[in-house]
């Protein structure tokens, strides 16, 4: 039983008044402070769409009316398609999906307690692993192949994804040319440009820089993606006390403004283009200004971000489910589950980074994907909530059983036991005696066995004709 796209929203960290205040403050910033746009084409697009532009300062401001008008052009529902339709994801409302994320530079290997540089081969193997983990719904390219030159990175990352899982592929992009090549590749996989428009098999991410900067290169990339019609994610990454106020409310304001800037730019370039409001907001280690990936505040910020996205009627890309631990210890368990659960209960549409990441998102780990798959299964069961109707209240069965009776033999138990209760795929529920007899395996050791089983048995890959067409038409792919 796979749980995905279930409605969250039973948890609301922000009151309606708080949402209004954040919106008002964000609109006031967009009008009074504005954003520095260092891409000429982005600046021109915004001006053409009615923004107030100070060219010398490269500053773009918008009246609240204009801002809301541009935002309202963005679709509130977006389908991200998998090569296999069963993996389609319908973002919008308060429906919840999960996925991987990155971009990690290292791989942690728990057997040796060491980390090493991530390679293209790791990316392929992680794609195969995630293809088999049901509670991870989308494959966002999680690692950076450190052995490749920059100009080969984009095509190789997306090819690794498309060739090793039939789940939707989302990814960051590094060069303008890479964007074009990757879209060309996706068209070959989809069958045609029109087929890709109908069923977007890939989506791309281009960040703004908090506070209030659209970078020259990233701005160009954003415009290129928006023009292509491929779904675009516009995340902002404000860090409390570093690139945003240290207060959570202040951080939410900066995240809202920065992500809305991307949304508005995309609509200015190509009205109606699918764009996802995104947050990578988190706290900062104020001892050394490190990005913190496992704080409870990150969960609060991204849960509240989901409410802001629902307010603007935009699909939401949240960040949660990571840990700052360097090992697969208890900390890795509680940090990943707390942030993931908060986002999901609030109805965050797509929780990215929700699997496989450790130590400030610098490092990916095979075993952690399996562990997080279990956490996400529990989280999605929490999202599903409690069904209350005559059948589940079971008055008649209760009456039949009566005081002191039991329900083990009731047909009602057998009818509902598999659907009402999450079936663990990793957690150990054996008695200590049995657990000891089976070798005293801790969570990561059991995860390791599962990694091996999956990778040894995985089959699949792009059809031969598609594969060879890509290899002949797209340059730089390392097969």
């Amino acid at each position: 039983m796979i749980r995905k796209g279930l409605a969250g929203g039973s948890y609301k960290p922000l009151t309606p008044e708080a949402i209004s205040k954040i919106n008002e403050t964000a609109l006031r910033i967009i009008e009074e402070i504005g954003c520095e746009v260092n891409s000429d084409i982005a600046l021109a697009s915004m001006e053409k769409a009615g923004a107030i532009v100070n060219k010398k300062q490269r500053r773009v401001r918008l009246s609240p009316q204009k801002a809301l008008e541009l935002i309202s052009k963005a679709p509130s529902e977006i389908t991200l398609c998998g090569q296999d339709e069963k993996h389609d994801i319908h973002l919008g409302g308060n429906r919840v999906y999960t996925g991987t994320g990155g971009t990690a530079l290292y791989i942690y290997e728990p057997h040796t307690d060491q980390r090493r540089q991530a390679t293209l081969d790791d990316l392929k193997r992680i794609a195969r692993l995630v293809d088999n983990l049901d509670n991870i719904h989308l494959f966002m390219l999680p690692t950076y192949p450190t052995e490749l030159p920059l100009e080969q990175v984009d095509v190789n990352r997306f090819f690794a994804g498309l060739d090793n899982t039939t789940k939707h592929i989302m990814g960051g992009v590094y060069t303008h040319d890479g964007v074009q090549q990757v879209i060309r590749m996706a068209k070959i996989v989809a069958g045609s440009a029109e087929a890709l428009r109908q069923r977007p098999l890939i989506s791309m991410i281009a960040c703004s820089i908090s506070p209030f900067i659209i970078d020259g290169e990233y701005g160009d990339v954003m415009v290129a993606i928006a023009k292509s019609g491929v779904p675009l994610v516009c995340p902002a990454e404000p860090l409390c006390g570093a690139t945003s106020p240290v207060t959570l409310a202040g951080n939410l304001v900066v995240q809202t403004v920065d992500s809305l800037m991307g949304v508005m730019l995309a609509q200015a370039v190509n009205p109606g283009t699918p764009v996802i409001f995104g947050s990578v907001a988190t706290s900062t280690d104020l001892r050394d200004l490190k990005y913190i990936a496992g704080s409870v505040e990150m969960g609060l910020l991204n849960a509240a971000g989901a409410q802001m996205a629902q307010f603007y009627k935009l699909p939401f890309y949240a960040t949660g489910g990571m840990t700052d631990s360097k090992a697969l210890d208890a900390q890795s368990g509680y940090e990943s589950s707390i942030t993931g659960l908060l986002c999901a209960l609030a109805g965050a549409n797509f929780i990215h980074d929700a699997a496989g990441l450790m130590e400030f998102a610098l490092t990916a780990c095979y075993e952690k994907y399996v562990i997080d798959n279990e956490i996400l299964g529990m989280v999605m069961r929490a999202v599903e909530g409690i069904r209350v109707d005559d059948e589940t209240l079971a008055f008649d069965i209760i009456k039949e059983v009566g005081p002191g009776g039991n329900f083990v033999t009731a047909k009602h138990t057998r009818r509902f036991m598999r659907q009402e209760h999450y079936q663990p795929s990793l957690s150990d529920r054996n008695s200590r005696e049995v657990w000891e007899a089976r070798g005293k395996k801790t969570t990561w050791e059991m995860a390791s066995e599962k990694v091996r089983t999956i990778l040894d048995s995985h089959t699949g890959g792009l059809p031969d004709t598609v594969r060879s067409r890509i290899l002949s038409e797209i340059k730089g792919i390392v097969d």
Binding site: G404, N406, V408, R414
Partner: protein
């Protein structure tokens, strides 16, 4: 034809369906013949009762047991299967008696004095019936003297005793002593179980076997019945 119906009987055990109105584990089984209907039909068609038992019921319960070990099946699945077997055995009993086949054995089962919960004992009862035994369930919170009385009257091959609490566990020892005093101890094999009970405890009070769970309890009874010495 006979093979077809034996296939269906096996499937009925695996699905844990007694009548055609029962749901199975798979969806959309409602309306298809269940165990009662199938056994009646098989007997009418002249299928041999021993074949039904060996190739149908016993073979199917082995599959169910394997699925339980593989953690695909839970206790309620196992119980539904055992119940289906129990119903089949009931219908087959006159036929078996007619053809001179002896039942596997009679078992008296009880939760000792002081204990109110009886889930574990009920499961064992269902599973033993599913394994082909005649089970007489005395209930829970049963006085030692009533257990002795029942053993004297029913002359069972086995006595199963269950306790849930450490504080009531001692009543098992009392029961065994009382049976010894009544001269009945040698006439019955005693198997005990329940949360606080252990292998060591069973040995210390002179029981013949110990079952850590319902399935082990059945295995122990089966072993004692075939002459081996249980799980010792």
């Amino acid at each position: 034809m006979p093979e077809d119906i034996i296939d269906l009987i096996r499937e009925s055990v695996i699905q844990g369906r007694v009548t055609k109105d029962d749901e199975g584990l798979d969806e959309d089984m409602v309306g298809q013949p269940g165990m009662s209907e199938l056994i009646e039909e098989a007997l009418i068609s002249g299928v041999d009762a021993q074949d039904i038992i060996n190739q149908g019921l016993t073979a199917a319960m082995k599959i169910v047991g394997k699925r339980f070990e593989a953690e695909e099946y839970y206790i309620p699945d196992m119980l539904a299967s055992a119940e289906a077997v129990g119903v089949a055995m009931e219908i087959l009993e006159p036929e078996l008696t007619r053809s001179g086949v002896k039942p596997k054995g009679k078992i008296i089962i009880a939760t000792v004095k002081g204990d109110l919960h009886d889930i574990g004992k009920n499961i064992v009862s269902i599973l033993l019936r599913g394994a082909g035994y005649i089970v007489k369930d005395l209930g829970n919170d049963i006085e030692t003297k009533d257990i002795v009385k029942a053993v004297k009257k029913e002359k069972p091959e086995f006595l199963g005793l269950s306790a849930l609490l450490t504080s009531t566990m001692v009543n098992m020892e009392d029961t065994i002593k009382a049976l010894t005093e009544s001269g009945l101890r040698d006439k019955v094999k005693i198997v005990i179980g329940g949360a606080p009970v252990s292998e060591e405890y069973a040995e210390s009070i002179g029981a013949d076997g110990y079952g850590a769970d319902g399935f082990q309890a059945v295995a122990v009874v089966e072993a004692l019945n075939s002459g081996t010495t249980g799980n010792k």
